[in-house]
Amino acid sequence: MLAPRSLRLASRVLFPAGAVAGLALAAVALQAIFGSPASRVLPLGLPDLPFHARIDALSAFFLLLLGAVAAGISTFASGYLRAGEGQPPGLQCLCYHAFLASMAAVLVADDAYFFMVAWETMALSSFFLVTSDHRHAEIRRAGYLYLLIAHLGAISILLCFGALQAGTGDYTFDAMRRIEQPAGWATVAFLLALAGFGAKAGIVPLHVWLPEAHPAAPSPVSALMSAVMLKTAVYGMLRVTLDLIGLPLWWWGVIALAAGLVSALFGIVFAAVQTDMKRLLAYSSIENIGLIMSGFGLTLLFRGFSMGTLAALALTATLYHCLNHAFFKSLLFLSAGSVLHATRERSLDRLGGLIQRMPWVAWCALVGTVAIAGLPPLNGFVSEWLLLQAFLFTPGLPHAYMNMLVPVAAAAIALAAALSGYVMVKFYGVVFLGQPREARLSETHDAGPWERTGLLWLAAGCVALGLAPVTVISLLDPITRSATGYGIGSHAGSWLFLAPIEPQRASYSPLLFFIVATLLVVVTWLSVRIFYHGRVRRAGPWDCGFPYLDSRMQDTAEGFGQPVRHVFEPFFRITLETPLPLDSRPRYRELVEDRLWYWLYLPVARAVERVTALVTVLQRGRISVYLMYSFATLLLLLLFVR
C-alpha cells in the first residue's frame, strides 16, 4: 500500500485528499474575495530575495475557480488512474499535485521572482504529465512543442517584468504598481505580456501546441490544463494590464479584441473538421479563450475611454466566461476520458451509440454540450449574453471609427457561438448517438462511481452557474470595482433578474426561464399521456424503407464536418487522396492541416536551423579553443570595466 508504485495509495488516498484540498481552497477563496487584500512575506526563496504572496479579489476568484474545478477533476482521477498506463502511478500523482500547487502559487505570487518560479514549475510539471505516455513518438513530439512554446512565452513574460520594474531593480508587484510608466514602456510591457500569456493561453498564432499537447495528456490532466492552466494565463494578463500597468490606453483593447476574435473563429472552424475527440475539444478551447480575450479587449477599450460601468460589464463577462469554460470544458474532457477508457478509442470515426452503454457519462456530457454551445438556461449562455450586451453598448464610444468596427466584431462573436453549436452536435452525436461503428463497442461499460461523482460535480456546477447568475456576479463585483471603479452587482436587479445596466435595457432570468420551460414540457407530456396513450412498439429503423442499413452508412466525423470545410475552405490546407474508378481496393484519404504551420512555423524553424549551423563554426569541441574564448571575453570585459 505504501510503495511509491502503489496504485491504491494514489487512487484511494492521494487523489481524494487532493479533491478535499481543492474544496477547502475554494471555501477559503470564497471568504477572501470579500476580504481586504492580505499580503505576506514567505520565508522561502533565496537569502535577501524572499517570496512575496498576496491575495486580493482577483487572485481569490481564480483560486476559487481552481479549487472548485480541481475538486471534481481529482475525484474523477481517483477512479481514472490505471496500472500499466504511462509512468508509474506514484510519479503521475506527484506531478499532478505539483501542477495543482504551482498553479495556486502563480495566483498568489506578488513578486516577479516567485511568479516566474511558480510559472516554470507549472510548465515543467505539466510537461511531464503530457509526456507521461512517452513511448509514442508523437507524444514526445507534442511535449517538445509544448515545452518550446511555453518557454518562448516565459521569456516574453520575464522581459515584460523587466519593462515593468523601470530600472528600479525592485521586482515586487507592489513596487511596479507604484511606478508611473511612460506610454512607450507601458505599451512594450503590454505587448510582451500579450505575447507571453497569449502563448500559454493558446491565442492564434501561438496556439499550435494546444491541439497537440491536450490530447497527448491523460484525460484528467487535459481537463486541468484546459480548464485551469489556460485561466492562469488569463489571470496573468489581467494582473499585468489592469493592476500593474496603471496607464490604460484604449487601442490596446483593439489589439486584444482582434486577437480574440481571430482565435475564436479560427478555433471553432478547426474544431468542426477534427476527427479526434480530444483534439476537437482542444480546438474548442482556443475558441473559448478567444471569446475571453475579446471580452478582455472590450474591457480595455471601455476603460481607455473611461466608461467605467461598461468596462465593469465587459470584465464581468470575461471573468464569468473563465469560470464557465473551466466547468464545461473539464466536464467534456473527462467524459471523453471515460469514453477513451471504456473503448480505448479516441478517433470519432470508430465510436458511436455509447448512450446505450454509458448512460451516466452520456447524460453528463449532454449537460456540457448544451452549456458549451451557449444555450439557455445553462452557464455558457449567461456569459455570452453578458458579452453581447457589452458589445451592444459600444455605439456610445467617443471614437467614430471604433463605433463602426465593433458591431462587426459582435457579428464575429455571434458566428463563433453558432458554430460552437454545430461542433458540439457533431461531438455528441458521433460519440454517443447512432449505432456503434465498431462491433466491440457493444461490450463497453459505464464509468465507475469515482468518475461519476466527478462528472456529476462538474455538471452540477454548469447548472448552478447557469441558474444563479446574480449570485455569481456579486462575487465578481469586488474585482471589477478595484479594476474599473465600478461594479455591476448592485445594478444586477433582484436576486431573480439579471439586469446588468438597467432593467429596461435588458434583463434575463434563467431561473424563471427554466421553471416555465420545464412546466411547459411537463404539461405537454402529461396532456399527451392523459388525452391519448403511451403505446410503444419496437421495430427496426425505417430509413425510408431501406433494409440493408449498417453502421458505416452513418456520417463519419469527416462527413459531418464537410459543410464547414466547404464554407471555410481558405482556412485549411487540404490534401485529398481519392481512388481511381477502377481501383480494386479503393481508399479515400483526407488530411486537413493548419496553414499557419507552413506559413509561420516551418520558415521560422528553418531560419533557426540556419543560424545554429552558422554558430557551429564557433563550436570546435576542443577544450583549448573554449579556454581561448573565455580568455578573449575576459580581456574584452576588462577593457569595458576600466
Binding site: W385, A411, V425, Q435, F497, T524, V528, R537, D543
Partner: protein
C-alpha cells in the same frame, strides 16, 4: 406586472399553440390556389395531428431515451419562444425573464435537440438531415441575432417589448437599416422553416430534404409533436417579423381595449404574411444544397450591413 399583462401572456401562449397549425394550413391553402390545385382544406394540419396522436409509436430498436424525450423538449422550447414574442400586448410578465438574445438561444436549443434526435437512430438519412440542419443553423442563427441587434441598437434595448414599443412609435419613414434587416430576416425565416428555396416541406425526395430527413424515424405522438412544433416555429418567426417590421396594433401596458383590438389585427397580419410566404415559395425554385451557404451568407452580410448602416447613417 398587471392583470392585463398576465391575461395577455396566457392568451398569447394558448393562441400560438392552438392556431399555429391553422397558419400552416392557410399557407398550404394559398399555395394550392396559386398553383391552381384544389387544396385539402385549411384544417388539414389538425386532422393530421389528430390522426398521428391516435397512432402507436414505433421506435427503432436502438432509439435512446434522448430520442423519446426530444419531441417534448422541442415542443416546450418552441411554445416558450411563442410566449416571449409580443404578439398581442407588450406588457408580458415573461418579457423580463427572456430578451431577444434568449429568444435566439431558445430557438437554437430546439434545433440542437432535433439534430441530436435525428442522429440518434443512426440511419443515413437522419445524420444527413442533422448535418444539413446544423449547416443552415450556423449561418442563420448569427444572421437572426444581427437582425435583432439592429433593432436593439435603434431602441437601446434587447427587451422585445421595448423594441416593439420603440419601433411602433417611430415616424413612418423607411429606415435603410430596417430595410436591410427586413430582407435578411425574410431569408433567414425561409431557411429556418425549411421552406423553398432552401428546403421543400412537401417533399420526401431524398437528396434535397433537410427537415424531413431528420424526423424520418419519428412516428405516432412523437411525430405529431414534432409537426406541431414545426408549425409553431413558423408561427413564431412570422410573429417576430410582424413585431419587428409591422408592430402596429400591438397593445401597450394595461390596455384591455387594445388587447381585444390586437386580436383581429394579428389575424389580418398573419393572413397577409402567410399569403406572402406562399407567393415567395411559388416564385422561387429550390436551390441546390451547396448553394444554401451562399444564400445564408448573403443574409448574414445584409444583417451586418443593416447594423453598420444604422451606426453610420442613423446613429
Amino acid at each position: 406586472m398587471s392583470a392585463a399583462g398576465i391575461a395577455a401572456q396566457f392568451t398569447e401562449l394558448a393562441l400560438a399553440v392552438l392556431l399555429a397549425p391553422l397558419l400552416t394550413g392557410w399557407v398550404n391553402q394559398c399555395r394550392a390556389w396559386l398553383q391552381n390545385k384544389s387544396a385539402p382544406g385549411i384544417l388539414q394540419p389538425y386532422r393530421v395531428l389528430a390522426k398521428l396522436f391516435q397512432k402507436e409509436v414505433i421506435l427503432a430498436h436502438n432509439a435512446s431515451s434522448l430520442f423519446r424525450s426530444a419531441p417534448y423538449l422541442i415542443f416546450g422550447s418552441l411554445a416558450l419562444s411563442a410566449a416571449i414574442v409580443p404578439t398581442l400586448g407588450t406588457d408580458l410578465p415573461l418579457n423580463e425573464a427572456a430578451d431577444a438574445i434568449a429568444l435566439v438561444g431558445l430557438l437554437a436549443l430546439a434545433r440542437l435537440f432535433i439534430a441530436l434526435a435525428g442522429m440518434d437512430v443512426g440511419t443515413a438519412f437522419g445524420t444527413l438531415g442533422a448535418r444539413r440542419e446544423m449547416m443552415v443553423g450556423f449561418l442563420a442563427e448569427p444572421a437572426l441575432l444581427m437582425v435583432f441587434f439592429t433593432a436593439s441598437l435603434i431602441s437601446h434595448s434587447t427587451s422585445l417589448s421595448t423594441i416593439v414599443e420603440t419601433i411602433a412609435h417611430r415616424e413612418l419613414v423607411i429606415y435603410p437599416s430596417m430595410a436591410f434587416a427586413g430582407v435578411a430576416f425574410v431569408m433567414v425565416s425561409l431557411a429556418e422553416n425549411a421552406r423553398i428555396p432552401i428546403d421543400n416541406p412537401a417533399t420526401h425526395l431524398e437528396l434535397t430534404m433537410i427537415h424531413e430527413a431528420m424526423v424520418l424515424e419519428y412516428s405516432g405522438r412523437h411525430l405529431a409533436l414534432i409537426e406541431w412544433a414545426a408549425s409553431l416555429k413558423l408561427f413564431v418567426y412570422m410573429c417576430i417579423g410582424l413585431a419587428l417590421f409591422f408592430p402596429f396594433g400591438i397593445a401597450g401596458g394595461g390596455d384591455w381595449l387594445g388587447l381585444v383590438l390586437a386580436l383581429p389585427a394579428l389575424a389580418a397580419k398573419l393572413a397577409v404574411g402567410g399569403a406572402a410566404l406562399a407567393l415567395i415559395e411559388m416564385l422561387s425554385a429550390k436551390m441546390r444544397i451547396f448553394r444554401a451557404p451562399e444564400f445564408l451568407g448573403t443574409a448574414f452580410l445584409l444583417a451586418v450591413l443593416a447594423m453598420l448602416v444604422h451606426v453610420m447613417l442613423e446613429g
